[in-house]
Symmetry: C2
Subunit: 187 residues, 2 copies
DNA sequence: GTTACTTTTTGATTTAGATCAAAAGCATTG
DNA sequence: CAATGCTTTTGATCTAAATCAAAAAGTAAC
């Protein structure tokens, strides 16, 4: 969803503010496979997905672990880089032809500071980030592989069919073999 | 740590702002065992722990699961109540004689809106909440019970000795029996 | 179609930690 | 100091999912 539209759905945006946001965010059309950020690099960019599917991941013991799938209307920023001045453990890559809007975090902070409404919205976006983590923690801690698979089917029915098995398995916190068995109903 | 001192460590606080904060937060001395919030209740209160130890928890399948230990200098708010107007799945209780400062979230929001510096700090506090969840998710997903135990020993050496085994076990995401065995070095 | 390569599935075995059950330690109260 | 309840430990068994290994299915390149 278009960034401005997204904002207008949540807050009232003055024409001046709208122009400021439009100008502050870059817009990029990116093909499948395009890396937006590689793990271990430093980037203070905030990403907004207007269209397409993007994946964030990190490398653990040489293995690629999917951390999240981002669909239209999602924000991402490396907390490590933007707030703690260190390299990002996360990488970000385009899974499906995407339209991405980006802005350096310090610039975004200035824009936000200029609007009470944006301040409130930015808090909401962060709260949602906390909630996403909280939900994922709960699912890893208390749900079985089968249950997590079912939840994901509900949440991302489309993604399940289109991305490689390995990405989904690592996202669910299970091995590819287990996911394959679950899918086949052999559990 | 005293709330005002905490704020001053992070930002510059004008005398007027300081007075406003002092007035807006209530202060309570609470004994061990005192419930600050019961699971299933609605509370928009933001808690700040000035002194003592507090625990947040929830009930899962009739079992009491410790979600976090809060020591001096920690904030807590039920996201569900404060932001989504629903009952809090979390409960909060005093583990050790504590000094707690509280403020309804809507009031806090007004205070924050009046100060650029507080806005920035509130973002940082939220970022830290995200990071805490992120770290906990990682530890549950990739670390063994033994490793989690060791990390906790480093992070909360004092708490480990003073709170009931069951609280620690559920916090670590393991059973009491397993924790007992780990402690005895029988693993 | 044949070859080569990647992705997915199937099978056998192992393992960390759970569960179930009971014993041992420790406090508190009369 | 018994008697009564907690909390913690110990022991035996079970289980979900990992690991290891190989077969099968897809995909692309020639």
């Amino acid at each position: 969803m278009d960034l401005i539209l997204y904002l207008k759905q949540h807050i009232i945006l003055s024409p001046e503010m709208e122009a400021q946001v439009q100008g502050a965010f870059r817009q990029e059309e990116l093909p499948k496979g395009h890396p937006l950020l590689s793990p271990g690099n430093f980037s203070q960019k905030v990403f907004y997905v207007e269209k397409g599917v993007v994946r964030t991941y990190y490398i653990k013991d040489g293995k690629d672990i999917t951390h999240s799938f981002m669909v239209e209307g999602s924000f991402f920023v490396s907390i490590e880089s933007a707030f703690f001045n260190s390299p990002s453990p996360y990488g970000v890559e385009v899974l499906e032809q995407a339209t991405i809007r980006t802005i350096p975090y310090p610039d975004l902070e200035k824009v936000i500071d200029g609007s009470q409404a944006l301040q409130k919205l930015s808090r909401l976006v962060m709260i949602n980030a906390v909630k996403t983590f909280s939900d994922k923690l709960y699912s890893i801690q208390f749900q079985s592989a089968q249950e997590r698979y079912n939840s994901m089917l509900e949440k991302f029915p489309d993604i399940m069919l289109r991305v490689p098995l390995g990405h989904i398995a690592s996202y669910l916190g299970i091995t590819q073999e287990t996911l394959s068995r679950i899918r086949a109903g052999k559990v």
